[in-house]
């Protein structure tokens, strides 16, 4: 079901938690809500589920005003962060709950409920655990029970709050792939909350990055990675160098570095910040250059350099493929020039400037680098 969220504002006792959320989600989309702790992800999810109501804004699902519906009538599958299983019921009864609580008129007959529960348990691959109680299950198994229970009501919208939060890294990876398949197979609209950037990027059609009650950016993983909309997003994605830069007469000047390959953004002159990832920088030995290699580290297929640039407190991180690094033949203490192949420029006030696009020169440099 297509979901349209408009202007949602939510305060808890005057503390604003959501400050105007606008988001549309297409039917069948798998969307990840990504953001720091306390940014309002859970609150947004709870509003969609009907467990919380906003002070302002609207939620429309397939043209219907959802805020007028109570949780019971939204038919939303909600998977809680801590599973929220019924401890006094067997796995089977947990999963059957959503069917057995229906009013008699719309409740399926006993045999049918039983069959559907079996099918669901098989779907989440825990058919053999049907008679156990939640206390007797592992974290991953509980997660599956919670999911099966949510799926039992045949939701058109599935909401998951940090579904893999409590699981170890390997199981998370397996479950990720499995959840993606499940989503595709059942054709629901799915929204899940996560802290884990890899998880969001790997799993979702679209990633929504939230900060402090606002959406910083919503887009496909590629869009967000290649064109972060704000310094916040660029920083949030991590592993990025921030270089002070100057915009003058349409040219980008980065002290100590060669920024000729970065297309300077159109717009006002003045100070700006260039966000550049370690693998978007090339190093050229140059005895007159002010930058010095402080440290180098081999990490399998690539070499990482820490480069001291005068005027910068933290060293710039540079990553070269092993092959390119061998050709450069650089050592600790060598003077180098930084060649920036690509980057994103933001004006000093954080106002996003049109993102820098790759220029033809970049390709030349890339080719030269190898």
């Amino acid at each position: 079901m297509a979901i349209a969220i408009k202007g949602i504002e939510k305060r808890f006792a005057d503390a604003p938690v959501l400050r105007g959320i606008d988001l549309t989600i297409a039917d069948g989309e798998l969307v990840a809500l990504l953001g720091a702790s306390g940014s309002g992800k859970t609150t947004l999810l709870r509003i969609l589920a009907g467990l919380e109501w906003p002070q302002a804004g609207s939620v429309t699902v397939d043209g219907r005003d959802w805020l007028a519906l109570e949780a019971q009538r939204r038919r939303v599958g909600f998977v809680f962060q801590h599973y929220a299983l019924f401890q006094h019921m067997s796995v089977r009864d947990n999963v059957a709950f959503g069917l057995t609580v229906r009013p008699r008129a719309s409740r399926p007959p006993k045999g049918e409920i039983r069959a559907r529960v079996e099918a669901l348990l098989d779907l989440v691959e825990i058919g053999h655990l049907a008679n156990r109680f939640p206390a007797q299950l592992s974290g991953g198994q509980r997660q599956r029970v919670a999911l099966a229970r949510a799926l039992a009501i045949e939701p058109k919208v599935l909401l998951l709050d940090e579904p893999f939060g409590a699981l170890d890294a390997r199981i998370r990876k397996d479950l990720r792939r499995w959840l993606r398949e499940l989503h595709d197979r059942l054709g629901m609209t799915t929204i899940f909350v996560t802290h884990d950037q890899d998880e969001a990027f790997e799993l979702a059609d679209r990633v929504v990055i939230m900060s402090d009650g606002r959406i910083e950016q919503a887009g496909t993983p590629d869009e967000i990675y290649d064109h972060p909309a704000s310094p916040f997003v660029a920083r949030f994605l991590g592993g990025v160098n921030e270089l002070p830069a100057e915009l003058a007469a349409g040219r980008l000047v980065v002290p100590g570095a060669d920024a000729g390959a970065v297309t300077p953004p159109a717009g006002t002159d003045g100070t700006a910040t260039l966000f550049v990832r370690p693998h978007e920088i090339d190093l050229v030995a140059d005895s007159r250059a002010p930058a010095r290699i402080r440290n180098m580290l081999t990490s399998g297929p690539s070499i990482r350099y820490d480069v001291d640039l005068p005027g910068l407190a933290t060293p710039v991180e540079v990553e070269l493929p092993r092959e390119a690094a061998r050709l450069r033949n650089l050592r600790r203490g060598d003077a180098v020039r930084l060649r920036l192949l690509r980057g994103r420029v933001f004006s000093a006030h954080g106002a996003p400037l049109p993102p820098a696009a790759p220029s033809p020169e970049r390709h030349r440099i890339l080719e030269a680098a190898l």
Binding site: G77, F78, A84
Partner: protein, 283 residues
């Protein structure tokens, strides 16, 4: 349990040491404080022989006292089952002015000397008391009736239900109720199928304790009861009267039956709980 079995239990399950010491202390305490007096009581009543015992406890006056006590205790417990649950619910679920005070008031029946409670209740519910007048107008007599006995019992045993249910209600995670709601369950169903099953064992315990306490309540009851033999005389008073008459045999025989009843109630409760929890904990 043999020493070997104890040691295995110790090795395989306990995290904290000191099993031997704590178990020993507890057993000694139970033997001295609980079992010894009970044994003396049983011995005393055993002296009478089965026939005499039966005659003493099935005497007309004794039977009437049992009936009064059991009936009143049953009503008091039924009332507290509902009222105590409601009170615990209100104290756990809502925030309101004076909540702390109300919470503290819950313990008054425990803290108050029962005789004081008895006098106060009698004064309130006497035909010319504040509440008594109102009931009188409705044609209801409370003082010197079984209703009064039940009232006094209910007053002194109410905290048992409140205080056993309260912590369990508090420990309930709100997310299981929210999960139920998203699965389509409305409040009534949520209470019946999700909340009550969890608090049921505690509720049952509270009710059983309240009932057992009511059976033996003395101080609070005798003032309001009027103590008319065959009408409003409770068992513990009868025991007391027999003691006053130096009829130790009758006193201990009746006391033993009272004891057995209370014990049976607690035992049955434990059995019921074991049944209810059989799945929830282990498999």
């Amino acid at each position: 349990m043999t020493a070997a079995a104890l040691r295995i239990g110790l090795r395989s399950r306990r995290v904290l040491p000191g099993f031997g010491l704590t178990m020993g202390t507890t057993l000694t305490y139970v033997a001295l404080v609980v079992l010894l007096p009970l044994a003396a009581l049983l011995l005393k009543s055993a002296e009478i022989g089965p026939d005499g015992f039966l005659r003493l406890v099935t005497g007309e006056r004794a039977l009437a006292a049992f009936q009064v006590t059991l009936t009143a205790a049953a009503f008091a417990t039924a009332f507290n089952a509902a009222y105590g649950l409601l009170m615990a619910w209100v104290l756990v679920r809502y925030e309101f002015a004076g909540k702390r005070i109300l919470d503290a008031l819950m313990d008054i029946p425990f803290a108050l000397p029962t005789a004081v409670a008895g006098v106060a209740l009698t004064a309130l519910y006497a035909a010319n008391g504040w509440f008594g007048q109102l009931f009188e107008m409705a044609g209801l007599k409370i003082v010197y009736t079984v209703t009064g006995v039940a009232l006094a019992m209910a007053f002194t045993s109410a905290p048992f239900v409140v205080r056993t249910v309260q912590p369990v209600l508090e420990s309930l995670q709100p997310d299981i109720e929210e999960a139920s709601a998203t699965l389509g369950a409305y409040p009534g169903v949520i209470f019946r199928r999700v909340i009550y099953p969890v608090i049921f064992p505690a509720h049952l315990t509270g009710c059983a304790l309240a009932f057992a306490r009511s059976l033996g309540e003395f101080g609070a009851v005798i003032f309001i009861a009027g103590n008319l033999p065959f009408k409003t005389e409770i068992v513990s008073l009868l025991v007391f009267i027999r003691l006053e008459e130096y009829d130790y045999a009758a006193a201990s025989a009746i006391a033993v039956v009272l004891l057995a009843t209370a014990f049976a109630v607690l035992l049955a409760t434990n059995a019921l709980q074991a049944l209810a929890q059989r799945h929830a904990r282990k498999g």
